[in-house]
Symmetry: C2
């Protein structure tokens, strides 16, 4: 078997999330169909393995997936074959043949997400599926002051929605930034960490919006982390603003 | 009656164009419903008048519409009322009460369109509804050399699809530009003129792509204009890249 690592982008708007589900259009489902069409192995379903799930409406700029096929196809041929089969809301950006030591899910070293939050009184029609929206005043300096409180290794139970299945809620955040883009009238959040719990980025963004609108003290995050209680952070920012930007692997698997 | 001039943006993806049609979702249809909901005049349907039609899938950044309602509502109250009723793919950007001398369609002085053409081998999932796509090499300098041939007053019959209803095919083009945006890997065309015939911008873009890919001589446009024959320019660039950017009126109606 030959193992392929592929990097994909998708517009999450018309998908019921990444993970395959019966009677639902999912990213995993359309990928699996494309890979099996190329592999032409009717006897056995070839499975695809993503670095992790994304929810319905969440986008990807650099999701990573692996699968095995029984013959050797050049990377560029695989890229063209997949893109010619896949629907237009999924694009394969890169293909790399890797050893069987590579696993898209269990081999990750870190992930980077961004969240686009559109400001302004009304929703821009061209952004309705591609940003969250906040129409009230937002103190971006307060948010930027709060962000370092997220950095480091913490138990993020407060920032974890039920429905995830993980052994531990300890994650490390390496970078957390918020940048105001004046031309777009958007705040772009970016988070780089060892991994993220279920809905963690969207809960962090919701807490940061509360801080930016004066509903929480600027340094409430340290208290929230210590509380280890989701009831302390009940809001979740909408899926439409969230992008899985990059998945990190050990150097030998990075092109 | 009180006449309102409104400026709107819309994502044309999920509309069967601007013009009202039975059993179809149209921009005119959703606007008319919103205006009549506000006017509360069950006895008489209030009509809305656009500056012109846009086809299915064509977007607007500054379409202009007028309508009359039987009572005086402040501009800002009208803005909020409309945006609270309209679906999220239409946004009212500005509202201005105007005299009855204003007519959105018959009073136009000019229009500005832009066309976004994405380059690159594959379609970016986030651009599939918002750009045209060209995957072959494109000589943008050749296009820029050709553009001045469009300027001035001409009979644009060659650039007019059947289905339009106009007294004359003479129009004047004041500006025609093409700019390469390296960050987006897109060519953005912009056309400002007295008015545009049915499909005229999309036919011009298709001809310019042919010039940029060496399928036509750089200065073929003068010959095409002289030919007055649509069969000389058979291609039409996809609707998804086209944006009605601005509609111009005499100074007294411009805020």
């Amino acid at each position: 078997m030959y193992r392929y690592k592929i990097t994909i982008a998708y517009d999450g708007t018309n998908f019921a999330g990444f993970q395959k589900q019966p009677h639902q259009r999912t990213v995993e489902g359309v990928l699996e169909r494309a890979v099996n069409k190329i592999a032409k192995e009717p006897a056995k379903l070839i499975k695809v393995y993503g670095s992790g799930r994304t929810d319905a409406g969440v986008h990807a700029l650099g999701q990573v997936v692996h699968f095995d096929i029984p013959f050797n196809l050049a990377n560029n041929a695989m890229l063209h074959a997949l893109n010619s089969i896949l629907p237009l809301d999924v694009e394969v950006l890169a293909v790399q043949q890797v050893s069987e030591a590579f696993h898209a899910r269990y081999g990750t070293k870190g992930k980077r997400y961004c969240y686009r939050l559109a400001l302004g009184e009304f929703v821009d029609p061209f952004k309705r599926h591609y940003t969250g929206h906040w129409k009230f005043p937002l103190d971006i300096t307060a948010i930027q002051t709060a962000l370092p409180d997220l950095l480091g290794k913490h138990d993020f139970t407060t920032f974890c929605a039920s429905g995830g299945h993980t052994k531990t809620n300890i994650r490390e955040i390496y970078e957390a930034t918020a940048t105001y883009n004046a031309q777009e009238n958007e705040v772009v959040f970016e988070f780089y960490g060892s991994g993220f719990l279920y809905n963690m980025v969207r809960i962090m963004v919701a807490v940061l919006i509360e801080i930016g609108s004066g509903k929480r003290p600027v340094h409430d995050i340290s208290r929230l982390i210590a509380a280890k209680d989701r009831n302390e952070a009940r809001q979740t920012a909408p899926a439409s603003g969230l992008y899985l930007k990059k998945v990190y692997y050990p150097a030998e698997f990075e092109k």
